[in-house]
Symmetry: C2
Subunit: 662 residues, 2 copies
């Protein structure tokens, strides 16, 4: 298959679109801005292997040294930069990439080893704490950077040293008695090795990824113990010393290592780790199609379903719990810090998109693309400001005094900003699924863009033009001499109807896709798909006990912000909604940011109930509550803004997605 | 004032009443049963100061040794036993009390020190870990035991050694440079010292309690640090080693030591500690009336209000979080383990009753007695089986597979069963508030009982006869020659109306009490109060985001159990209620337990919505959800049982208090 990290190069995203504008912000601002941060913080020069004062600091999150992810911060920036450089000349960025690569090359040890911390800070201790120290995670990001780098530069300046490092890892880890029977605390290298295998066809790359994936969670990995438990004992760890992110001792589920993946029934622990891990599992299942383990594949779907059905926010965000940056129990989805938690980390939503895209390669079912779209337009895009200079790590559905809705320049653990960079760099690779074996192109995402490729020696050019997600008409033009090209168009699960013009009598909707047969397509090189975009009220599963409604329109989830609702002083905790009231749409051109979007206004359909006006000490008669509510202040016009656009216009940081319903 | 622990002796609780039957269960079974447990587990002989194998066990909850509370387990049993022995001869119990007292006397060190752990297990380390090691907590319970013992036996066999131990503590702790500037991690000694002061009038007893209460949370207690932080450093504690109950490092709020009490704004941390602490604060404020610190008093009400308004379950239970056995954030009140947590520890509800009773001594406002009643009939009585042989430590509002609704014989940390014993021993002291200065008796609780006392050299006998809380008529008879005795009768906040017969035209309701003037009372020595007991649906505060309704009748909160609703297989998670449907009452005489109560039946007013029938991936249109709900199975008859009576009749352990509402 073509991974989106390479396939993206065939797609040109139209500049004047929501995604196009965000990509422009990245190339105009983010790349340079993040480069400056890498330089300012010491990351840029870290592969020179000099001591840095940060290395002396006590860990903010014990036992993780604050600089532990620097390798990956650099690698992800290089990777993202390479994607942008592939479609645009950016000399300063290009020069920095080349300089960084030289530094990485120079940091490699004679045996191929390549890691800042274990070379500078704790030499001699490599591979003694796979559970906590992100050594293999960093290696995975270096592999991904090397793949992007060699794609762009067509040389092996980064690829060759990384292959040497991978050789070392292949020799060190595996099932043989002389090998280490471990696997990473933070998955990433597995998916990187499988992408590498796709490039190299080198069996040992597949074998190492498979070993990491199938050995993980083995209850009797070493000396009858789970590897992480054995390793901790071998290090002489005091069992009473718990990592700050462990809610209990020996918290193997934090790492998805409490059982072999094939035996796991619910998705648990750190959400980014879970997504990276399952992305690799999906890849392995696809690669081993036919010979693959049915248990592993069925576990993958079980875990996906558990996540989608019981552990995902209406925005596509995942992870309710701050302490372990991950999943709570089934249906535990409070909206914000002061209601029990909400994490919805940016990288986790990016991870859901990765996983959904991989699942589509196994089973072309639009339900996976629905989730990909939901995450992109909400949980992911909300994490970067319109100008690409402000980020969020956590994407709550409701702000609080503790955690107002606002953006940061950067984070100590800086995984999210460069992950956003990478994603927007290769986002074009998510739009389509190409199956050259039967000359089919599937449209998963409606992002204004043009795809160009050659199949069976014929050039194909497919363009989708629209003002999506604001206007409901998408105009397709297909330019090719191929007569057997067919198209599949995703009909979103949220769409109440759709219309194709001209009509295609033979078209059927199967697994969420409208298939346009080659015969029809060869006669209709231009056509229009209309999917009505009407505001609708959605609710989470009732078992979440969140008696809330959320406004949505097409793929966009809306929130209310204090900008345009200036009266708020309580993060909209008191707002209650009558979903029968009328809604008005208005096309808003935001003068400050230049962004244009559809805003929604609820007219006379909201009341503001201050918590202190309800005397539930500790309960109140149901009838008395109704009478209190009916006497509460009405809000004449409640202004709704797309959730992805929050925190772009200043304000006090009050924001809420789910609103109480009465 | 007369503490309830002494005042109870003037009250005879009628045997044929709910509370009377539970007291009979304790004297018939619990006292002996708990004595056997004390003997079997090693607690009984622990004051002999021999080594016990338990002392070698690793702690279940690091760093608390499993035997750390043994002193208090024995002391609380002695205390409770003395209350029962005061009203009933129980020779075997009496003999055990006397034997235990001899052992305690023999365990005292030459300087007065008295603690099992620091004499046997870690000699030489006394007072080095006030934060975790419960040394002063145990001392507090010994003081309370000594007070009860001397009241009963009229000798100082226990009182004298305890006074010697208190002398040592008074010398050791205090503001002087040579003294230790610490305070207990688990409050208890403060309230015990204030009760002791009430008996001794010894200023140093008051002074030590006051020191503990006002020094607590001093940010610059020792060397510019909080005492607990200083103490941990002095012990050489590794800061990365967190007690298992700490969700974060240096978690001072767990102990209510994050700020001086007078500056605390919200009630935080371990709920039992918070209640014991505030009980002592209330006592100090009452004792120092006039000279007292207005900040401390106002903080006490702020914390009480925060608890009642935002952190209390509809059952009167407090504490949502298992890890620290305590309070979550404002309005975070999920019902059970698999919905985000629910703890509602028995001892905490007993603590709320203690605090409410103390507040009534400062401000005779029925709102405090309302909470006392709510806790007693629900959060407290639910914690002991009908026969006094089964207990609960945690009192969730909904069961789960992880935590089914069932009872245990005993617990490793065995604070709750003997606390129940103590409370039921002196519960008579909670029924009335006597103010001899103006010859008034206030009726706080409607428990069938008779009060006898002498005031101004006149005998008074007041009896309340009823079948409360099942029948709504309470017949009072007053027998005295006193002409100036007045009565106040509490009109519960939940009562929609009341009637007095014969009527009293001069009676007014003030602060929740109906005052019957002496003139009327001297002419009406028998009268009847009727408070209608009708089923009603109550809801928690909407900010809890618990879209649930709960059935209540008078002071009783109801639940549904699998006994009588055998079809349940999901802990009633799918049940949704139409509160407009009709309810039937039925007097139930449970044949297995002999208990008689009013059960309630909802006819055709419930539906059962299985989570898997709602396709919210991750959201669903509000309208589609309504249509799904309307197609769900109806439940013909839903049987409701008083919450306090749950888990008395076997069954599968499925139970729920709050039911979703549609």
């Amino acid at each position: 298959m073509a991974y989106p990290q390479t396939a993206f190069a065939s797609t040109a995203i139209h500049a004047d679109s929501l995604v196009g504008r965000r990509r422009q912000a990245v190339s105009a601002n983010t790349l340079k801005y993040q480069l400056d941060v890498l330089k300012k913080t010491g990351r840029y020069d870290a592969f020179k292997l000099q001591w840095h004062p940060v290395y002396d600091e006590p860990p903010l999150v014990w036992p993780i040294p604050n600089h532990l992810f620097w390798d990956s911060d650099v690698a992800k920036w290089i990777e993202g930069a390479c994607y942008f450089l592939k479609q645009q000349a950016l000399p300063e960025i290009d020069q920095a990439v080349q300089e960084l690569v030289e530094m990485i090359r120079s940091a490699q040890q004679s045996d191929g080893y390549l890691n800042i911390h274990y070379t500078v800070v704790e030499p001699g201790k490599r591979f003694t704490n796979l559970r906590d120290m992100h050594e293999l995670y960093n290696a995975g990001h270096l592999i991904e950077a090397a793949l992007a780098h060699s794609d762009l530069y067509r040389n092996d300046k980064l690829f060759a040293p990384i292959l040497r490092y991978v050789d070392l890892l292949c020799a060190n880890f595996g099932p043989e008695p002389h090998q280490t029977h471990g696997y990473p605390g933070h998955p990433e290298i597995e998916l990187a090795l499988l992408r590498l295998y796709d490039r190299t066809n080198e069996p040992k790359h597949l074998a190492l990824a498979k070993y990491f994936l199938t050995e993980r969670g083995n209850p009797a990995g070493v000396d009858g113990q789970n590897y992480f438990a054995w390793e901790a004992r071998a290090r002489g760890d005091d069992p009473a010393k718990r990592p700050a992110f462990y809610p209990e001792s020996q918290c193997l589920w934090y790492h998805q290592a409490h059982a072999p993946i094939a035996e796991q029934k619910t998705i648990e622990g750190h959400s980014v780790r879970a997504m990276y891990l399952l992305t690799a599992v999906a890849d392995l299942c696809r690669i081993e199609s036919g010979t693959r383990s049915p248990n592993l594949e069925s576990a993958m779907y079980t875990l996906w379903n558990n996540m989608i059905q019981r552990k995902m926010y209406v925005t596509g965000g995942i992870g309710a719990i701050k302490q372990w940056e991950g999943f709570g129990q089934d249906f535990f989805l409070p909206q914000g810090t002061d209601e029990g938690g909400c994490y919805a980390e940016t990288c986790a939503a990016i991870g859901v998109m990765m996983l959904a895209q991989r699942l589509l390669q196994i089973d072309l079912d639009a339900k996976f693309a629905d989730i990909m779209e939901l995450c992109l337009y909400n949980a992911v895009l909300t994490a970067m400001s319109h100008d690409g200079k402000g980020f969020t790590y956590v994407n709550q559905l409701a702000s609080s005094d503790t955690d107002p809705s606002k953006r940061e320049d950067w984070f100590t653990v800086a995984c999210c900003p460069p992950n956003m960079l990478r994603l927007l760099g290769y986002i074009g690779g998510y739009i389509w699924t190409r199956d050259d074996s039967n000359n089919n192109v599937t449209v998963n995402l409606y992002i204004p863009s043009t795809l160009e490729f050659t199949a069976n020696r014929k050039d194909v050019r497919i363009s989708q033009q629209s003002n999506w997600p604001w206007e409901d008409r998408i105009r397709f033009t297909v330019d090719t001499t191929s007569e057997d090209l067919s198209l599949k168009l995703r009909i979103p699960q949220w769409a109440s109807s759709f219309e194709l013009c001209p009509s295609c009598p033979d078209a059927v909707v199967d697994k969420g896709y409208l298939t346009l047969p080659a015969a029809w397509l060869s006669k209709n090189r231009a056509f229009e798909l209309q999917i009505p975009l009407k505001p609708r009220w959605v609710v989470p599963h009732p078992s979440t006990e969140q008696n809330t409604v959320t406004l949505a329109r097409g793929p966009i989830i809306y929130c209310i912000e204090d900008v345009h609702n200036e009266w708020v002083d309580d993060h909209f905790k008191g707002v209650s909604i009558d979903i029968g009231a009328s809604l008005a749409e208005s096309v808003t051109k935001d003068t400050k940011t230049g962004d244009e979007y559809v805003s929604l206004i609820l007219e006379d359909g909201a009341r503001n109930i201050k918590p202190e006006t309800v005397c539930a000490y500790p309960s109140i008669n149901a009838a008395d509550l109704e009478s209190t509510v009916s006497k509460a202040d009405t809000i004449g016009r409640l202004h709704f803004t797309p959730y992805y656009f929050r925190a772009n216009r200043g304000g006090k940081g009050h924001m809420r997605v789910g609103l109480r319903r009465f």
